[in-house]
Amino acid sequence: MHSEGSAEIVVVRGEIDLATADAVRADVRAAFERAEAVVLDLREVDFMDTQGLAVVIEAQQASAEDGTRFAITRAPDHVHRLFDMIGLTPRLTVVDDPAAAAS
């Protein structure tokens, strides 16, 4: 996780599932506490299950509630497909460059 001004980028690599979701959730929550803009960098996420989706949804909901800007950097296609499947994609800001989104 690194900070750029009042924006924080949370970088996640590997799998977000039952085993890891709680750790990612804690990082995302902490970022929301501190920053005005949070970017979840999912470019190196190989796999996400319902637990992982729940983390992204929670961040999206938090953003909708308190106005913290929230974006994700485009995940690999098979992960992004899950966002499409559950109807999350239209509610997300998807960017290609996390630094640009944070500034």
Binding site: A54, I86, G87
Partner: protein, 680 residues
Amino acid sequence: MTDLRAASARLGAAENPGRRSAATVISLAAVAALTILDASWSEVISATVVVAPFIAAMFAGVRQTALVAAASIASALLSGIWNDNFADAGYLVRAAIVIVGGAFSILAARTREDAVRAETLGGQLIAALSNLAEAVVLQDREQRLVYANEAAAETLGFSSVDALLAATPERQDGLADYYNEDGTPLTPEQYPSRRVLSGEELAPHRVRVINRATGEERWRLTSSRGVRDGRGEIQLVVTVIEDITDQRRAELAQRLLGRAGAALSSSLNYEHTLQEVADLSVPDLADWCGVSIPDHHGLIKQVAVAHSDPEKVAFARRLGERYPSRVGDPGGAAQVLRDGMSQLIPEIPDELLEQAVVDDEHLELIRSIGIRSGIVVPMTAASGRPIGVLSLVNAESGRVFTEADLELCEELGRRAGIAVENARLYTERTVIAHTLQRALLPPGLPEIPGFSLSALYRPAGEENWVGGDFYDAFAVRDGWVAVVGDVAGRGAQAAALTAFARHVFRTSAQLHDDPLDAVAYLNQQLYDRPGQAMCTLCCVHLRARGPAAEATIVCAGHPLPYTVRQAGAAEPVGAWGTMLGAWREGGWSRSTTTLEPGDVLVLYTDGVTDATGAADRYGDDRLRAALAESRDAEDALRRIADGLADFETGEQSDDTAALAIMRSEPAAGSASGDQLGSAA
């Protein structure tokens, strides 16, 4: 032994240098006086001078005696000079007496000095032995005690060394019972002193000793060695007896607690593990060990009993069955269960037995055990509540329990109590989990005329984990609805949400004619729940259309179902819609497809596609390939199960649910019935 000490003190005084010097001076003065007398008075006196070295030999050292002997010989020579009688035969005899006497005196002085030294050394050694904390005894070839120190008298249970030495061998042994480390009695043939006398080299030997009178248990480490004479014959056996009771008890306690802990944590079958604990306690801790737990009927059930003799165990079981104790009984186990207070009865009087028994026969049976000492401790749960009791009894060993034994038993009771509680909680949790799980799923799939249904459900991980996947199938006003869903989260909270989602959806689908309305209603209900309450599902509304059927599919954040038409390829069907519970608004759509007889529709959760294999996830492509050519509902699910079984490695983290529906071939009877009905 006090004599020896006194002798050593006396001999020490003889070595006093002042006395030596005095004896030397007196001896030399005697030589001088006799020489003067001899010179002035009579030649006969020259032989008398031999008395002087004798005196020196009695009280002075070798050197002083040699000096006096030399002086007396010189005196004899001087006598010869003065009297000029060297050639005289009488003079030669007298001179020889003085020379030989002097030589003997020197030898005598030397022998005496050696003896004094040896005796002093022996005395000092004995004094040192007497002061040793370790008991030391010396036995002769006939195994008679020839020496024992004070520690030995104390260790062997005698008031003094004299009392020990005066006691007969029978009485020396008769005060206590001796056992080997393994619990077998130590026979006289096994006595270390006897084995050493017969020429054996023995390693130190641990012996458990129980004082017959007091019932006190001690542990001794005995080391015996033979003392050989110049010819190599063993003349004496030295035995050092060390009291290792404290060390041995600590060792036994640690070992018992360690092994009991391992046994208790090895299994959830606590009646079995308690038996192991009881077995571990005999004979080191007690002759008998029993474990009792109250049942729901107020009986204190004996769940374990141990004794080193299996016949006695059988006897105790029969006794327990015939005379069961009840939670309301006064005293004993029932009392400990009520107040949680341990009981230590070092010596159990007969009156106590009389109070505890039901009838005379019971009393006889109890008496036949020969109970001497007893401990009853509670097995306590983490909360401190007694949930059972450990009873320990000493009978034939005659051992009397101590406070240290009580402490050890209490610790054992605490550990056993927590293990039993954990096992019970775990069992209870498993029962609750199974009950909940049954609530998540329909009791069985309904018989749907014109369709055959088959379901697969596999919760992840241990059996007590309740999963978040569910499926259901039920009748609605104009047909049937089948659904497969997946609630986010795990454990009890997810289980509660799963039950909620399934029941809300079922009720809502039965009230609304349109599955879209049921989905939207569930979304609203989940969204309004506090916290994240999210769910994905795929439902299908089935309606017969002649021999075929119309299937209306609605998906909400869920993978699309597959159709396998006429045992052909598997094709996804339907359209994605918004996950439920995440947002107030969502978009869902109906997709309608026709199921011809023999067509199979398969609904599943992502537990199937997310299943982990050696390198990757099971995925859509493998699922699709597995489902191809499914002949019917059951066959489709078997293909999924077989495919997963071949693919998966390790324990799966997600639940798996799947539901397959086939439009049946119309039965001849029902088809004609339809025709008749339509004809009418």
